[in-house]
Symmetry: C2
Subunit: 245 residues, 2 copies
């Protein structure tokens, strides 16, 4: 992990860009975090494209920092400046075509788009976690927050250092992930936008039902994919405060 830039934001949050091999990422730490008082960490999931997502990511990072959390994110495979996969691009084009035609999105499209992404991204998040937890200002426990919900689901199963997750049900989920969902046991807080244009509501409810966690909460709100209300963000922050402190 090599830090490539560092700046202090107006609220005292320290923002550092880094690379982990070929993968770019960003780490935000509260001004108060130090080797003597390391901050618990929340991994910020997103749909890919760090530059485009920056305003929303930094907003989430500031909110978390105000609650005493460090946050970090990395670019997804095939997004931003990372090399594209021809197969994923073809699957994405098929998905777009189906959505524009108002057709149901076939399982094969979802599988081709999401399964290779999960396969590749999850070990990268784990490598990032290795590097991040070796920093003196970062302590445990660790949470995962956001989409892609299939990545968050797999991480919650295979990564024992993640103790709680806020999962955003805003993307299509391969059937295979439903089986994995049953193996999740950490506390979950699932966000669903009831009228999300690029999401299958019934599938999201089925996935919520499938999670094996004894403590799981679904918060459904009105509006489209990007319309998560401020109070829903506050509730997610309270979930992490309950479980990561």
């Amino acid at each position: 992990m090599h830090f490539t830039s560092e700046q202090r934001l107006d609220d005292g949050v320290i923002e550092r860009e880094f690379t982990l091999g070929e993968i770019p990422g960003t780490l935000w730490t509260p001004g108060s975090a130090s080797a003597s008082t390391p901050a618990p960490l929340i991994l910020l999931g997103h749909p890919g494209g760090l530059d485009k997502m920056y305003p929303r990511l930094v907003g989430r990072a500031r909110h978390c920092a105000a609650d005493g959390f460090a946050t970090a994110t990395i670019e997804l495979p095939g997004s931003g400046d990372r090399p594209r996969s021809a197969a994923a691009e073809a699957a994405r084009a098929d998905l777009r075509r189906a959505l524009q035609a108002g057709e149901p999105v076939g399982e094969d499209i979802v599988d081709r788009l999401v399964l290779p992404l999960v396969e590749k991204a999850v070990p990268e998040w784990q490598a990032a976690l290795d590097a991040l937890l070796s920093l003196p200002a970062i302590g445990g426990p660790v949470g995962y927050s956001g989409g892609v919900i299939s990545i968050g689901t797999r991480l919650s199963v295979v990564e024992p250092r993640i103790s709680a997750a806020v999962l955003f049900a805003g993307s299509f989920v391969p059937r295979a992930l439903f089986e994995e969902a049953r193996q999740v046991t950490i506390p979950l807080h699932v966000l669903l936008q009831w009228d999300d244009e690029g999401n299958d509501r019934q599938q999201a409810l089925d996935l919520f039902d499938a999670f094996g966690s004894k403590e799981k909460t679904l918060h459904a709100n009105m509006g489209g994919h990007t319309g998560v209300p401020q109070f829903a963000g506050d509730a997610a922050a309270q979930f992490f405060a309950r479980h990561l402190k």
Copy 2:
């Protein structure tokens, strides 16, 4: 409205029992409420039987009082010491029989049980509201919190003094109420226990979908009918703090 008893609880909350005609009820006011600083009011809905429900009702009342709210409840028609309706008792027996046999609960049973209850209870809650809002320690705005969700739905449509509602999706809902749900426009916070033994989950999700409110939130949690977790109660309190203050 005649007050029949008054006591100050250990946290300073004043609990007063009253009768409104033949209907018994209870009013809780924060120790700080007075004619010069009247408290906003939350009506506490429940499934009937004030005596049996008292421990849970007073718990909710204390929680609300700590947030500065007065709360009040009245006995439901056919519950507690109020005269039974033979038709409602017959419907209740049919419901119990269907549930015990693991059979689907027919629409006719739900209609016979719930529709007359809504017809009778809603004007009683409105009469209670008239009396309560005439007390100097009680101000507006007013919220409704709890079940019976069909009563809360009808009240939200017909009673303009209610500005926000926390509705507990824990009872069967007549089809006719789904049409009324579309007419609800106030902010709603709907609580659903995912594995509620006496509730139809899909029907609850359909009812949530039907509500016409622009701001509506569904909070689904694990566990049975009475297992609403503490943090879900806190979230409902925050909803009222946002809308009634």
